[in-house]
Point group: C2
Chain length 130, copies 2
């Protein structure tokens, strides 16, 4: 969806960029986002909606092909997790008024978690971003 703007970015930054653009749209149109999320929940769509998940899965596959992302990870699992994390975060964000947190920031934290993981890496690997 935003791939055109992000072609020069690596896969990690593409994922962050994608989520940041979605957050910008959500923040700019919070009432519409709330209505959309309510409708999506009533129709049972948000976690089955393929567009976001498909885009994110393709970004992960590309990152695997160019050797920047782990090849042993199932790209579909990663795409589904990122899309589910996005929807869960937006749902929480629209549910409370005023917004309980900065949406773009929480989505970026979520992306960092999926990119770098929870487990403390061996000391030699601590050069990765904190």
């Amino acid at each position: 969806m935003f791939a055109g703007q992000a072609d020069d970015l690596g896969p990690s930054d593409q994922i962050r960029h994608y989520l940041r653009e979605l957050a910008r749209l959500n923040v700019e149109s919070r009432p519409e986002t709330a209505a959309l999320m309510d409708a999506a929940m009533r129709h049972g769509d948000p976690l089955r909606g393929p567009a976001l998940e498909t885009d994110l899965t393709k970004t992960v596959e590309h990152g695997q092909q160019i050797g920047e992302l782990e090849r042993h990870v199932d790209a579909a699992v990663a795409g589904r997790l990122l899309a589910a994390g996005y929807f869960a975060t937006v749902l929480r964000w629209v549910h409370d008024d005023p917004a309980p947190f900065d949406l773009a920031e929480q989505l970026d934290d979520m992306a960092s978690l999926v990119l770098h993981g929870l487990v403390i890496a061996p000391a030699a690997a601590r050069s990765r971003e904190g």
Copy 2:
């Protein structure tokens, strides 16, 4: 919920154990799982339901306290992501008949992803599980 059985496990294995027990219940009662998921989606609950998210957040906090999980990660973001990943996976699994994948296996893949991340770690860190 299953913490009693998992007290002797490290936080990573506690998370896996927790998801595996949920998968076992879902697989043993697939029709009931489908009905529950449908009802939850209609009521807009699944991503707001606090029980699973709260349990997973506490497990992450404990792992941070004992120095096994990254302290800079927001435990609430991690708990929400794991719970959202669980619900998204179960939704996909109940939606297709026959089940499109092994539920416990996909949940374990999802847990591995959140625990270890997508980005390829420096070579020195490759001692972590592949």
